[in-house]
Amino acid sequence: MVVQALAFYLFATVAVLSATAVVTVRNPVHSVLLLILTFFNAAGLFVLLGAEFLAMLLVVVYVGAVAVLFLFVVMMLDINFVEMREGFLNYLPIGVLIALVLFVELAFVGAGWALSDDKVAVLAHPTPAGLTNVEALGQLIYTDYAYIFQAAGLVLLVAMIGAIVLTLRTREGVRRQKISEQVKRDRADTLEVKKVPVGRGI
């Protein structure tokens, strides 16, 4: 148990510290890298909770895909670091307010669980015994709540199509490579063998 406790404190400390650093460091690229470190430590905490599937998903989706795009965008921005710091104090009250609301919500959730008599029963869905959490999660998403899950998928699909429609432009006069046409071409279309008489040309 000591090792678990140590690991918990390690992940938790690094997560909190790097999350703080995300909003305080000057360089936005460093911010993104620290955000990735935070995600990674959160994944570590998931592993300690026995939710290894969620941990891997967090790494694959957030660290492996979302944060990469994020990093791309931030790296390509041409930012003046001094200018970016200027509005810091103006935005501080709003930031603190949002943080406070989130903190209170979390505290309510935590207190509701800690103060109840039967702690396991309060959990929406305790992991059934004898199932790995991949199976338990699959049971939940694809059997118990299949329709809601499908609906969520449809919402995302609509969002994706919307983003594509908004950004799709066709410019005139762009020459594109049509691979199927190139493959269809045969020798007769492009080559012609001519006998050139000596001294006269074609």
């Binding site: 690229v29 795009l69 791309f72």
Partner: protein, 337 residues
């Protein structure tokens, strides 16, 4: 004291010993993979390859390693120092830790995770950071362009790799790498590459792109980008990138062997007397040979064609295959329990 020894120190010593038993042969394999690469390509181009240092040039990789070790590590003045130093370390570490879940034989695995395949997928999706960080921290156009190309390429091909893994998982019914191998036991006709033959081909091509190897080695296109993301690196920092890249090649070959070529199992039941790890290593060597063969054979892809191949060909194809496999399994009531 007794508790401390039995509970913590002894297991720790064991784990460290096991890790060393994987990492040391891996590094030797990396060194000799570079030798094999030069020899194989040399043979394909009717040259001799390295043949001066030691008998048949066998000491060449050691000489190269020594040279890199003795050179000076240069950090460019305009580089972002912290990130510049961390990037090669990250690349190397990620290439090493992924080996924790690879099963070499029945029960011969460092960490037998339930979600082993997801762990591998997660770790390999992190590989892009080492490269992007290196390109950005170098603060140079060539390095940055190389990193961007490489990043976009790795992210694109990861998707088709993920879908291929899903279709293999559908037929196996487990995320555990050992279970995936056990599902293919009994002979070559049980191996996944027969049932998933189109995906096996797509997978091989995708891992070429994922590891930034020829013909998809655009990040290091010498003709345009000098050498891409690692152009500003020297000595050991460069060596770490190099080791990471080759360790990743071996890892991807191992993954290919586990998913499609039956891992440690023998191709014919008669050959079961040969130990599992030998079969596994032979299969890795086979896939690695394909890597080298392709490098000696194909010219480099153009970047837009590379993206087209990933998004417009492989993605729909592997998606269709997932649906086909799922439909087949449900229709014929063959879903693994």
């Amino acid at each position: 004291m007794e508790l401390l020894w039995d509970g913590y120190i002894e297991p720790l010593v064991w784990i460290v010993a096991k890790i060393l038993a994987i990492v040391v042969p891996l590094l030797v394999a990396v060194a000799y993979l570079t030798y094999a690469e030069r020899k194989v390509i040399g043979a394909m181009q009717l040259r001799k390859g390295p043949n001066v240092v030691g008998p048949f040039g066998l000491l060449q990789p050691l000489a190269d390693g020594l040279k890199l070790f003795l050179k000076e590590t240069i950090v460019p003045t305009s580089a972002n120092k912290g990130v510049f130093i961390i990037a090669p370390m990250l690349t190397f570490i990620l290439a090493i830790i992924a080996w924790a879940v690879i099963p070499f034989d029945e029960g011969m695995v460092l960490a037998d995770l339930n979600v082993g395949i997801l762990y591998l997928f997660a770790i390999s999706s992190l590989g892009v950071y080492g490269i992007v960080m290196a390109g950005w921290a170098s603060n140079s156009k060539y390095a940055f362009l190389g990193a961007l190309r490489s990043g976009a390429q790795m992210v694109s091909y990861e998707i088709s790799i993920g879908l291929i893994i899903i279709s293999v998982l559908l037929t196996t019914g487990s995320l555990n790498l050992s279970d995936i191998v056990r599902g293919q036991g009994g002979g070559i006709w049980e191996w996944n590459f027969i049932y998933h033959l189109p995906m096996f081909v797509v997978f091989i091509v995708s891992i070429l792109a994922e590891t930034n190897r020829a013909p998809f080695d655009l990040p290091e296109a010498e003709a345009e980008l000098v050498s891409g993301y690692n152009v500003d690196y020297s000595a050991m920092t460069f060596a770490l990138f190099f080791l990471g890249e080759y360790a990743n090649m071996i890892l991807m070959s191992g993954l290919c062997a586990v998913l499609f070529l039956g891992g440690w199992t023998a191709p014919l039941p008669v050959l079961d007397f040969i130990p599992g790890p030998i079969w596994f290593i032979l299969k890795i060597c086979f896939v690695l040979f394909i890597f080298l063969w392709v490098r000696a054979t194909f010219p480099r892809y153009r970047y837009d064609q590379l993206m087209r191949l990933g998004w417009k060909v492989f993605l729909p194809l592997s998606f269709a295959w997932v649906m086909l496999v799922a439909t087949f399994l449900v229709a014929f009531d063959k879903v693994p329990a």
